[in-house]
Subunit: 152 residues, 2 copies
DNA sequence: CGGTATCCTAAAAGATACTG
DNA sequence: CAGTATCTTTTAGGATACCG
C-alpha cells in the first residue's frame, strides 16, 4: 500500500493477455443491460439499496415506504414518481413483489421476493465490510486532500 | 415469491418501529458522502467496477488501461477525462495507488491497494451471485414485460 | 503520455399538479 | 392512495483541443 508498485509487471507478454482478459470479463456479464450491470447500477443509485434494506424489514405500502425513506436522514425525500420508478424496476427484475387489493382506492403493498432477500443479504454484507473499513477510507481521503492542498 | 405477501404485517405497532429502523439504518452509514454510499455509488457507475476488475489483474499505465477498457465489449470507450476522474476518486478513497516515475514524459501507473483488492473480492462475489441467478432475472423481466403488454 | 479545460448531451432525479 | 404527466434541475459522461 506504500509506493510498492511492481513496474516489472508491465511487459509485452503481460499485455498480450489482454484479449483473454477481455473474454473473461465479457463472461462476467459486464455488458450493458445484462443483469450484472443493471443490478450494480441499481445498488449504486440514490434509493434502491435503501429500498432493499427497508423492504427487508417487512411489507410496506407505497406511501408508508415513502415516509420511512424520508426519515432515514440519508437524503431529503424521494419523490412519488421516483419511488414508483425504482419499485417497478426492482419488480421487473424479480427482486420485489407488488400486491394489489382492489378496493377503492386500491391498497398496494410491496415486499422482497426470495431473490430480493438474497440480494439484500449480499448488500448488507458489503455494507458491513465498508463500515468495518470506514476509518481506513476516511484517513485515505484526508491524506489525499492534504497532499492535493500541498501541491498548491 | 408467488403472491404470498403477509399483509398482517402492516399494523400500527409495526410502524412505530420506524424510528428504530431509521436509527439502525443511519448507523449503517447510509448518509450522503459516507463511505458506504460513495462506495456503492462507485460500484454502480459506468466504469469503476470494470476498472477495479482490470486492476485486479495487475499494474497498468493510464493509456493501457484505457485501451483495455475499450476492448471489453462492455461499453464503447472511456474518455481520458473520465478515466482520470474515476481513478482519482478510487485513489482518494484508498482503493487505488498511483505511482509516478518522473521521466519526460512521466510514466504513471495504477494498481489496487490491499483495501482495493478486498473490495474487488466482494465485487466478484456479487458478480458471481448475479450471474448464477441471471436466468431467474431474465425470466422475471420477460414475465413483467408480457404482463405489461397484456394490460394494453 | 498523462492531465486539464471547455463545451455539450443524455440521463437521473426532484417539484408540482392532476386522475381514477 | 397510488400512479401519471409535465416541467425543471442536476449530474454523469463524452468530444475535442491543448499543455508540460
Amino acid at each position: 500500500m506504500k509506493g510498492a508498485i511492481d513496474l516489472s509487471g508491465i511487459d509485452p507478454a503481460f499485455h498480450q493477455q489482454v484479449d483473454l482478459l477481455a473474454r473473461d470479463m465479457s463472461a462476467h456479464g459486464v455488458r450493458r443491460d445484462e443483469p450484472v450491470r443493471t443490478t450494480f447500477a441499481m445498488l449504486g443509485d440514490r434509493w434502491s439499496t435503501l429500498i432493499l434494506l427497508v423492504l427487508g424489514f417487512g411489507t410496506w405500502r407505497h406511501a408508508e415506504l415513502r415516509r420511512v425513506l424520508g426519515r432515514l436522514g440519508a437524503e431529503e425525500k424521494i419523490s412519488q414518481r421516483v419511488l414508483t420508478l425504482k419499485l417497478r424496476a426492482m419488480e421487473r427484475d424479480g427482486y420485489v413483489v407488488r400486491h394489489v387489493v382492489p378496493t377503492v382506492p386500491p391498497r398496494v403493498s410491496y415486499a422482497l421476493t426470495d431473490l430480493g432477500a438474497e440480494l439484500r443479504d449480499h448488500a448488507t454484507g458489503l455494507i458491513g465490510w465498508v463500515n468495518a473499513h470506514q476509518q481506513e477510507i476516511r484517513k485515505a481521503r484526508v491524506r489525499f486532500d492534504l497532499a492535493e492542498a500541498d501541491a498548491d
